[in-house]
Amino acid sequence: MTSPLRIWSLPWTLRYLRHEVLALPGRTAALLFVLFLLLFPLLSQDPYLLRVLTLTALFALYAASWDLLSGYTGQVSLGHAFFFGLAGYASAILGRELGLSPALTIPLGALLATLAGVLVGLPSLRLRGPYLSLVTLAFPILTTGLIFLFPRFTGGELGLSGLPRLGQSRLEEYYLVVGVFLLSLLFLWKLANSRVGLFFHAIREDEVAVRMVGVNTVRYKLLAFAVSAFFAGLAGGLHAHYLRVAGPDSLSLFNSIQPVIWSVFGGIATIYGPVAGTFLLFPLLEVLRVAEELRMLAFALLILLVMRFLPQGVVRGVLERLEEECPRCKVKNAFTRKVCRACGVPLHLREVKP
C-alpha cells in the first residue's frame, strides 16, 4: 500500500469485500442473500414467486423482531401476534376513518404497536420466565375478545377488508416490502451489535449481575419490548395491506407461534437466525403444497428432526462447522484456513504424539 486508502472509495470497498466479507462463508452467504433479494426480479417476475418472497420477507422481519425481544433479552414472548395484528388493525382503521394512505397509516400503526409493546413490557417487569410468557400470551387473546365485542367498529371475525394496496403491481409491492425489510434488518443488526445489544445479552444471562453493575435494566427491557413491537407492527401493517384484509386471523395463537418456530429453527439471539429460519421454512411450506395432506405433518417432522440434531439452530449449527474462531485473537476464520488470517496463529491444533 503506497497510497493512503480512503474509506468508502472503490478500492476500499473491494479490499473490504475481499478481506472481510468473502473471507468468511457466513458473511458471503449474507451478501449473496441480499443480492438475491434485490436482483431476483431479473430472474423471474412470476407473481406467485414474488408473492411468496414478499410474504417471506415480511414474516422474516416479524421473526427478527421476536428474536430481539425473546432471544436477546430472554423475555420469551408467546403473544407476539398482539403487535402484528394490532398494527394491522390500527392501520386499517386509521385509513378508513381519516382517509390516510398506507405510507402514513403503516408507520402510525407500528408506533401504536410500540406503545402496546411498552404496555406489555410494564407488567412483565415483575415476572420471570414462563410467567412472563403466559402474560404475553394473554394479550392477543384478550384483544380478539375485544374485537368480537365491538364487531361494528372492528369488523368482527371477518375483519376489515378492501384495504388499499401497497403498490400498483406485485413487483412494486415486492420491492417496497424487501426494501423495508432490508433497512429494518440493518437497523436491528446495528442495534444488536451495539452496547445496547450487549446489555440485552447480559440481561438474558444474569439480570441481577447487570443491575449490580449499575445498569438500569428496566429501561433496557422496556426498550427491547418497544423496538421489537415496532418492527412486528411494521410487518403486521405491511401484511394487512398486502392481503387487503386485517382480520382476527392475524392475532391467532398460530401466528404467535410461527416466529418462535422460525427463530429457534434458525438460531435465536442472532439476527440472521430468524431470517434464515423464515426463508427456509416458509417457502418450504409453500412447496409442500403439492402434498396437501402430508404438508403439516412433514413440516412438524422436519422441525423435530432438525432440532434434535442442531439444537442451537440451523444457521448456528452450520456456521459452527464452517467457521472457526482463532484461539489467540478471537477473529473468525473459514474452516479451510490453516492459519488465522489476522494473527497467523495455526488453527486446528493437533495433539502432539509422544
Binding site: 394473554a138 368480537f148 412438524a300
Partner: protein, 287 residues
Amino acid sequence: MLSAILVNGLVLSGIYGMLALGFALTYGVARILNLAHTAFYMAAAYGLFFFLERMGFAPAALLASLLVLLIALAAYKLLLEPLREHEATVLIVTIALGLLLQEVVLLLFGAHFRSVPALLPGFVEVFGVRVAQQALLALLFAGVVLLLAWAFLKGTRLGLGIRAVAQDQEAAELVGISLSRAGNWAVGLGAFLAALAGLAVAPMATLEPHMWNAPLLVVLAAVVLGGLGSLPGALLGAVVLAFAEVVVVNLVPGGAFLRTAVALLILVLVLVFRPEGLFGTAFAEER
C-alpha cells in the same frame, strides 16, 4: 342457576385438574413446558375411539392410555432429554410434537367430528339441574384419580422424591435423589394423567383434531396461576379457572365466546399482584 354453576364447575374442575396436575408434574420435575400435553389428552381420546371399535371399554381404555404413555416416554427419551439445556428448542419441539399428533389424527380420522358412545347414557336431575350421568361418572373418576395421585405423591418414597425435585432441584440432587429417574417418572405420570383426562372426557365431548388447543391455554394458565413448581397450586388454579369459565357461560348468555379471554384476564390480574402465582415460591434462578 347457582346449582348449575356448582355442578358444571365441579365436573370441569375435575377434567382441568387432571390435566393441570400432569402438566405441573412435567414442568416441576423435568422442567419441560410440555405444550404437547393436551395433545396427549387428544391422542388418548382418539385412541379410545379407535380401540372401542374392536373391543370393550376397559381394554380399549387401557390400550389407549398405554399407547399415550409409550408416545410420551419415547418423545422424552429420544427428543426432549437430549435437548435439556436448550429451553427454547425444547419449547418448539413440544409444539412440533403437538402438531405432529394433530396431523396424524387428521390423516387417520379426518376432520369430521367423532363421538365416543357414553358408558352411562341418560341424565339425572341434581338440585334441579339436568346433568348427564356420564359427566357425573367423569367427575367421580377424576376425583378417584386425583386422590390416588395424591396418595402416591405423599405416601411413597418415589412420590416424595418427585415432590422434592419439583421444589428444589439442586437440593434434591444433594440429598441423592436421581434427577433423571424422577424426571422419567414425572413425565410418565404426567402423560398418564393427561391420557386419563382424555378417557374421561371422550364419552362426553366431541373429538376433533384441534380439541387440544383450548385446553392447552387453560392448563397453562392454571399452572402459572397456581405457581410453577407447586402441585396443589396447579389444582387450585384449575378449579379457579374452571369455575370462572362456567360462571361466564352461565351469567353472560351472549358472552360464552369470552371464556378463554376471561380465564387469561384472571391470570394476568393475579400475576400483577402476585408475580409468582398463588403458591409459587420465588426461588433463586437455577443455573
